[in-house]
């Protein structure tokens, strides 16, 4: 295959995945030009990623829920409620952060498992079961914040999760050294995994992409990682939110693509009956996916509370819909069995970029909603069209 044919083939067969990255690139470029580069400034990108964090972790969990043909509407107020619980534990009971975080995450898992139980064992449609959860946890949030109103959190360690940055060690030309190192390690790990993967494939005697394309891909992705690192290092470096977000993506990406559990989740999503007849325990998988969703909702609540340095009575409002939107922009399909964890993150960043860019441009909030709605619709239309073409 000639160089161009191979490149063409790669683009054609991965159009849905690439389309999303291209869209993100176009959105960022447009805003960068319209704001004279202000949009791509270190400070703005850093804020943008931090503001995407608590939705992005929800979107990761939501993607898997939608993959198995369900929905979870309760996550917004579960996040709000558990964020408040964390605040209460920290301020009123005086627990240590190291205790509060695992406890709240475990609460989240139990709430998720309960949703999963209603859906998988009792057979309540997930829309209804989690709608009930949404109302219940909205009430629960009001209940625990009623007497005190907004709960201010003074724990610096906890607040750092939403506002803090990894230590810089020392500054090199105004850039944060540790962040640069993290970026460098990221590039090395990426190149190493790609090369060893390729070598492994060659060992099995499989076709691999040509050396030229392979090197271009390595250089391109390394450049992107390097560029983002450089941009972030120019402000305060990597924030803890970004680090947590990256960890969630890496873990969930691995789980969903490289493990038996992940494969079973996608099998249940693409044909539940066939999955059952293939010996896959559909009930168990459904419980696990909802359990993980609950845990991520708890994480989202922690990030949000830390970001605001307080738990408010309305925390979590509409988070679930933002997460669903991000998941759909990220390419998940409600027909089940299709959707990537990495897509969910990109979807969340796309939505956050739109808000951030339009805020910089001073676009009125009324138009912001309309434009974000339009982008969501366009993403799904694009998805349907490319899918139809392949079928």
């Amino acid at each position: 295959m000639s160089f161009f044919n191979e490149a063409k083939f790669l683009i054609k067969s991965n159009i849905r995945d690439y389309g999303m990255y291209i869209a993100l690139f176009v959105i960022m470029l447009t805003f960068a030009i319209m704001t004279d580069g202000l949009f791509m400034s270190s400070r703005n990108i850093s804020n943008l990623l931090d503001s995407a964090g608590y939705i992005a972790v929800l979107a990761v969990g939501m993607t898997l829920v939608i993959v198995i043909r369900h929905i979870d509407l309760s996550v917004g107020f579960v996040a709000g409620f558990l964020g408040a619980v964390a605040a209460i534990f920290l301020t009123q009971i005086g627990m240590s952060v190291w205790l509060v975080i695992p406890i709240v995450l475990i609460f989240g898992i139990f709430i998720g498992l309960f949703n999963g139980f209603l859906v998988a064992k009792i057979g309540i449609p997930s829309f209804v079961a989690t709608l009930a959860g949404m109302l219940i946890f909205r009430g629960a949030l009001l209940n625990v914040t009623e007497s005190t109103g907004t709960i201010i959190v003074n724990d610096d360690l906890f607040n750092a999760l939403g506002n803090g940055f990894i230590p810089s060690l020392m500054e090199v030309n105004g850039l944060h050294l540790l962040s640069l190192l993290v970026g460098l390690i990221g590039i090395i790990l990426y190149v190493y995994s790609e090369v060893s993967n390729r070598r492994n494939k060659a060992k099995y005697g499989f076709d691999v992409m040509s050396a030229k394309i392979f090197i271009i891909k390595l250089v391109f992705v390394s450049f992107i990682i390097g560029y983002i690192t450089w941009v972030l290092a120019g402000y305060n470096g990597f924030s803890w939110t970004v680090v947590i977000m990256l960890l969630v993506v890496v873990v969930y990406h691995f789980l969903s693509t490289k493990t038996v559990l992940g494969r079973n989740i996608y099998a249940v999503g693409s044909n539940p009956e066939a999955a059952h007849l293939s010996g896959i325990n559909v009930t168990k998988i459904t419980m696990i996916v909802f359990g993980s969703m609950g845990m991520l909702a708890a994480l989202s609540g922690i990030l949000f509370t830390a970001r605001l340095q307080s738990a408010t009575t309305t925390a979590g409002t509409l988070f679930e819909l933002d997460a669903i939107a991000a998941a759909y922009v990220g390419g998940v399909s409600s027909a089940g069995g299709v959707g990537k964890v990495t897509g969910a993150i990109i979807g969340a960043i796309v939505m956050a970029s739109l808000s951030s860019g339009m805020n910089l441009l001073g676009v009125g909030i009324s138009y912001q909603y309309m434009i974000r709605g339009g982008v969501l619709a366009a993403a799904v239309i694009f998805d349907v069209m490319t899918r139809r073409q392949r079928a």
């Binding site: 038996v260 079973n264 996608y266 044909n271 066939a274 007849l277 293939s278 010996g279 896959i280 392949r390």
Partner: protein
């Protein structure tokens, strides 16, 4: 000169090169009960779909003459307007609506823009009297038994001024009492001048009720028998239904010794609480190592239900009786237990519940046995490609690559992927449900060859099939099922198509 209400002359209908109907002639006299008989796939349903306009005018060759006029139905509504009504096996009723709402559903009695419910109830009551159904018209459909639902469906049809009533296996889901009532009603309707075509597999019914019977085989009319001339008898019908020579399309198999009994069922019953009846009744069955067991029977005779009840009971039947696998008592809570015990089940409906159509070949092949390509829960994706290509080669799956989406493969290749998926689990007992349905002759031969290789390696196969040829050509021993019961066991020597058909139509 006879008074024909319906003449279908020279009907030919092709599906991408395959003739489902080949020059079929079918004539029905006014006021008679005319039975249409044939094996599964003989073309009965296709013929009725041509008649009712499901396949519109122009997609078939030949003429339909109804009430003396050539009809050109473009859709079902056209045939309904002309006075032809079909009642299918799966009833088209709304379970959560009342009897009277159902009878006039889509045909509401109006008073201005509104529905006239009082008039509806009055007329519905009259209709119910006509079909001799004594229920309150305000009863919900779901609270009625299947037999009574059937009568509501007929009442609904009669409310539309029907001249020709077609019933597709009306008694298949009914118990004996309800069946008799229904047949009585048909006789009653005949005396009121309604013509009736009934598709049936139950020969006793045909003999008791039919004025005439037309037999189809392989898309052709074999003959029309007249009861009033004493032409209808069980043996004549069976002879004409099967009558085919067994073609030599079955690969030769060397004689070999069978091993120990690997699967045994004693007084095995499965009760379906949704249907409210036993779908498998007191089945006794055994399978030896290296044996191919054929399970014959007509559609709905409980063959698939038998397989599902063995394979981890995925439909949650209430089971009774004993199952022994490899001599040990076995009970499976989940399909995964059955797989662990060495049982594999290749489903009848490969698109519906057999394959992951949106996924590629390799992930379909490994789906039931991910343990085989993973260690401690982590997949080795390269190993998966190896496994995939191994089955692609050994089963001759024709595809551009292992990454090809299974939904885009032909039926035969899909079936091979499905087979590959189960062979990768390393089964001892392989249950094949209609393994060659909808696939071409070449692929069939390949699947038969694979089956022979598998038993040579010591596997046992249970093959469920509606094709008598296939059952006879491939099986060492045959069980025949009818209405959930095993009505007979035939050895290879004593098997004839007639013998199977006799047991299957009991």
């Amino acid at each position: 000169m006879s008074d024909y209400i319906l003449e279908m002359n020279g009907i030919t209908k092709e599906f991408t090169g395959i003739k489902a109907l080949d020059d079929v002639n079918f004539k029905v006299e006014r006021g008679e009960i005319h039975c249409l008989i044939g094996e599964n796939g003989a073309g009965k349903s296709t013929l009725m779909k041509v008649l009712s306009g499901v396949y519109p005018y122009g997609t078939y060759e030949g003429d339909i003459v109804f009430e003396g006029e050539v009809q050109k139905f473009n859709e079902i509504n056209d045939s309904v307007k002309a006075g032809i009504a079909i009642i299918y096996q799966e009833l088209a009723l709304f379970p959560d609506l009342t009897v009277y709402e159902n009878i006039f559903a889509g045909n509401e009695i109006r008073k201005g823009p509104f529905v006239d419910w009082n008039e509806t109830i009055i007329q519905a009551t009259q209709m119910l009297k006509k079909v001799k159904l004594n229920v309150d018209p305000e009863t919900l459909i779901k609270d009625l038994g299947v037999g009574k639902q059937q009568l509501v469906e007929i009442a609904k049809t009669l409310s539309k001024n029907v001249k020709l009533l077609i019933l597709d296996e009306p008694t298949a889901a009914l118990n004996e009492n309800d069946s008799e009532n229904l047949l009585e009603l048909l006789k009653e309707l005949r005396s009121q001048g309604i013509t009736c075509i009934m598709i049936s597999h139950k020969l006793k019914e045909v003999i008791s009720i039919a004025d005439k019977a037309t037999i189809l085989r392989d898309g052709q009319t074999v003959c029309t028998l007249d009861a009033h001339k004493g032409e209808i008898s069980e043996s004549v019908i069976i002879k004409n239904m099967v009558g085919r020579e067994i073609e030599d399309i079955y690969p030769k198999r060397l004689d070999h010794q069978f091993g120990k009994t690997v699967l045994e069922l004693n007084n095995w019953s499965a009760y379906d609480s949704q249907l409210g009846r036993d779908v498998v009744k007191n089945a006794n069955l055994h399978v030896k190592q290296g044996e191919i067991i054929g399970v014959a029977g007509l559609m709905g005779s409980g063959r698939t239900e038998l397989a599902l009840s063995i394979f981890g009971n995925s439909r949650n039947y209430k089971l009774q009786g004993d199952m022994k696998v490899q001599g040990q008592p076995a009970s499976f809570k989940h399909t995964s237990d059955a797989i662990k015990a060495g049982i594999a089940y290749v489903t009848e409906d490969r698109k519906g519940n057999g394959l992951f159509l949106i996924k590629d070949i390799k992930s379909n092949v490994t789906a039931a046995h991910l343990k085989g390509i993973s260690s401690r829960g982590v997949l080795n994706l390269n190993e998966e490609v190896m496994v995939g290509s191994q089955y692609k080669d050994s089963l001759h799956i024709k595809a551009s690559s292992l990454e090809q989406i299974v939904g885009n493969l032909s039926g035969g290749n899909q079936q091979k992927v499905s087979l590959g998926k189960w062979l990768f689990t390393g089964p001892k007992i392989l249950i094949l449900d209609e393994p060659t349905r909808g696939i071409d002759v070449g692929a069939k031969f390949e699947i038969y060859t694979i089956m022979n290789e598998l038993i040579k390696e010591g596997m046992s196969i249970i093959m469920i099939s509606s094709e008598l040829n296939e059952i006879i050509g491939m099986s060492d021993r045959i069980y025949v099922m009818a209405e959930g019961k095993i009505t007979g066991e035939l050895s290879k020597a004593e098997t004839t198509q007639e013998a199977i058909m006799e047991l299957a139509t009991q």
